[in-house]
């Protein structure tokens, strides 16, 4: 059959992930080998990388200690820029998370089978990104050990306070914590059959106990699968509106205020498109590295990456269109403040941030119109990184430029981050990458049971197409 494939490159397209992985057992081996290998045999470069990222996480810890010890004045937030890097980074990380849910839920509902090779790692990435995001709302309170009382409606006798449910900030608390919880449940549900595989293959007592407990006694009974598939469908169906709601509600933090540059109805869809755009770019960055270091080329193929690039192109264009609409409405509304804010964004003191954003978000994804560039690993690696640089700048531009010119010129200001701001943000990347590296090494990075399910149906299609080609 491999000869037929070589002679007919069109067949490679029919069956992207599975041409080179002939049977179930090989597939199990390939994916679990990464998880099961002895610690001593893990390549040295893995431990070195983990050491570096763990050290960067240490910087994050240190910065948070300094912050709590001295108070949030350690950040560069000032008047009038009362919201700055803290919320920029929060929105940035939350946005990154959106790709995971999109892949696991929305692409599932659209029956995009190619998602099975990438959904597990994208979902894990979602969880880790939301953890990084959660640091900011938690620590901006200054006293994170009391934050639970301020953020969640917990009956309390010392403060005797309740949250104000008319505030979009409390909506955000509910949106983000629900998002994290539901993503975690979805991820774990998908993981259970694979944990059972690891349990059944475990060679040491410790592994048997750990994977035995985590897999909850899963035995792959037909009755299990019937409920499981239903549960998966329901989780996908409720996660789809959830993922759209989360960034919409994040955008309400801005849109419900009366600040020029924030008070616009375009924000919810614009934020959601931006979130998916940045999230896919982050998945792309991580997958290119993982695919190369863990030799997963047969499971994560160029076709997968190309499909993702198409989504990046689409959402990137939506984001570019939203920038244009914002500018048009600022002019068309005839509102002096609105008009000033937008001209000031592009040509005021933060012009460099604005044009970095436009270059990275509007211009760079357009390269993906060309099939050659869409299928080139170096190109997509660079563009995935510039996308995230651009998306970080987008949030910074929206937040800082709208605030630094207050209504009265006497209250104008400028925001500069402190070194604590910068080191904290740098540290969140350490946390994100450390968690991702641990996940990639110790849990199955590709959804084994889902890929096998696709393998079965694709094998049939493949057989019928191959026979057709041969008979011709």
């Amino acid at each position: 059959m491999s000869l037929i494939v070589e002679q007919n490159p069109a067949l490679m397209e029919v069956n992207p992930p599975l041409v080179n992985s002939p049977d179930y057992h090989d597939l199990t081996n390939q994916i679990t080998d990464i998880t099961e290998g002895a610690l001593s045999k893990t390549p040295k470069k893995y431990w070195i990388t983990l050491g570096i990222t763990a050290s960067i996480t240490g910087i994050l810890g240190l910065m948070l200690v300094i912050l709590v010890w001295n108070g949030i004045g350690m950040w560069g937030n000032n008047r009038p820029v009362g919201w700055a890097w803290d919320i920029t980074n929060f929105v940035f990380w939350i946005g990154i998370g959106h790709a995971g849910t999109l892949i696991s839920a929305i692409l599932f509902l659209f029956r995009q089978k190619w998602r099975t090779s990438i959904n597990r790692s994208a979902e894990a990435m979602t969880l880790f990104a939301v953890m990084c995001a959660g640091i900011y709302p938690l620590f901006h309170t200054g006293r994170p050990w009391r934050a639970a009382y301020w953020l969640f409606p917990i009956p309390n006798t010392d403060l005797n306070l309740w949250q104000n449910f008319r505030s979009p900030l409390i909506w955000d608390v509910f949106a983000v914590s629900t998002y994290f919880t539901v993503s975690a449940l979805f991820w774990f549900t998908g993981l259970v059959p694979d944990l059972a595989t690891l349990r059944d293959r475990a060679t040491s007592k410790a592994k048997q106990v750990v994977f035995g407990a985590l897999s909850l006694g899963w035995r792959g009974s037909a009755r299990h699968w019937a409920n499981y598939e239903k549960a998966y469908l329901i989780l996908a169906a409720i996660s789809t509106p959830l993922v759209l709601s989360v960034h919409s509600i994040v955008s309400f933090d801005f849109a419900t205020s009366v600040i020029p540059g924030w008070h616009t109805t375009i924000f919810p869809p614009y934020f959601v498109a931006g979130a998916i755009f940045s999230g896919f770019a982050m998945v792309m960055t991580l997958l290119i590295i993982a695919r190369w270091t863990l030799n997963l080329q047969n499971l994560i193929t160029i076709k997968h990456l190309e499909n993702m690039n198409k989504i990046i192109l689409t959402t990137g264009s939506v984001v570019g269109y939203a920038y244009a609409t914002e500018f048009f409405i600022a002019w068309y509304s005839g509102n002096t403040y609105e008009r000033f804010t937008f001209i000031n964004r592009a040509f005021g003191p933060y012009w460099w941030a604005y044009w970095t954003m436009v270059t990275c978000n509007v211009i760079s994804p357009q390269f993906f119109w060309f099939k050659k560039l869409r299928r080139s690993i170096p190109v997509m690696f660079i563009l995935s990184i510039t996308t995230n640089i651009g998306m970080w700048f987008e949030r910074f531009v929206i937040i800082a430029t709208s605030l630094h010119r207050d209504f009265l010129p006497g209250s104008w200001g400028y925001f500069k981050p402190t070194w604590i701001d910068m080191a904290t943000f740098f540290g969140t990347f350490g946390l994100f990458l450390t968690l991702f590296l641990l996940f990639a090494r110790f849990l199955p990075m590709i959804a084994i049971s889902e890929v096998k399910g696709v393998l079965t149906t694709e094998k049939q299609t493949f057989k019928s197409v191959a026979t057709e080609v041969v008979t011709k």
């Binding site: 409390i170 909506w171 059944d200 909850l216 035995r219 329901i234």
Partner: protein, 189 residues
């Protein structure tokens, strides 16, 4: 301590047969065999597979999952909790006049109500699915079949449970072999 010693210590009797289990290496063979076994009149059948095999539910008579309705009730509970919380906190326990805005209104309650509806549904789905599957479970006789560990890898097992009125250790083994199963065994536990 092995299973035998444990049984003695706990004062349990001899193991009863749990089922006759046979192994297949292809999902389509499993479905075909399952259908044939069902046609022989068996009613208590099960299958074990590394991924959901399509068509097996019809072939061996697994009823469709009833999870959906339970989740609907959870969603309703989530929405009700959110609305009651917002109303009670804002209009009863801690009324706070902010710019003359109403103390309770459906419009600004939408985001939190939506989120709690989703949250409750997700917990309902998650706990409901594992609950209906009888998980977590520390022990199941299925794990005493010698190839069960491969049912999460590349094997497809067909199970005739001992509760089945037509079950007979010898005849069922023959039936299982006749539909093409390999390594057919009576599993006790």
């Amino acid at each position: 301590m092995n299973a035998g010693e444990l049984r003695e210590k706990l004062g349990l009797g001899e193991d009863k047969a749990w089922a006759v289990v046979g192994k297949f290496s292809d999902p389509h063979e499993l479905v075909d065999a399952g259908r044939k076994i069902k046609e022989m009149g068996y009613t208590k059948l099960d299958a074990m597979s590394p991924f959901p095999v399509h068509g097996i539910d019809d072939a061996i008579g697994v009823p469709p999952s009833k999870l959906g309705w339970r989740v609907v009730w959870c969603s309703a509970a989530g929405a009700a909790t959110a609305l009651l919380l917002i109303w009670w906190v804002g209009a009863v326990n801690y009324p706070l006049n902010i710019g003359g805005k109403p103390l309770f209104d459906f419009t600004y309650s939408i985001p939190v109500t939506f989120e709690l509806t989703v949250l409750f549904s997700a917990f309902g789905t998650f706990l409901g699915m594992f609950g209906m599957n009888g998980l977590p479970k520390l022990y199941h006789p299925a794990f005493r079949y010698k190839h069960t560990h491969r049912a999460s890898d590349d094997s497809f097992l067909l199970v005739i449970e001992a509760d089945d009125p037509r079950f007979d250790p010898e005849k069922s083994v023959e039936h299982m072999k006749s539909v093409g199963a390999a390594d057919v065994e009576v599993v006790v536990g």
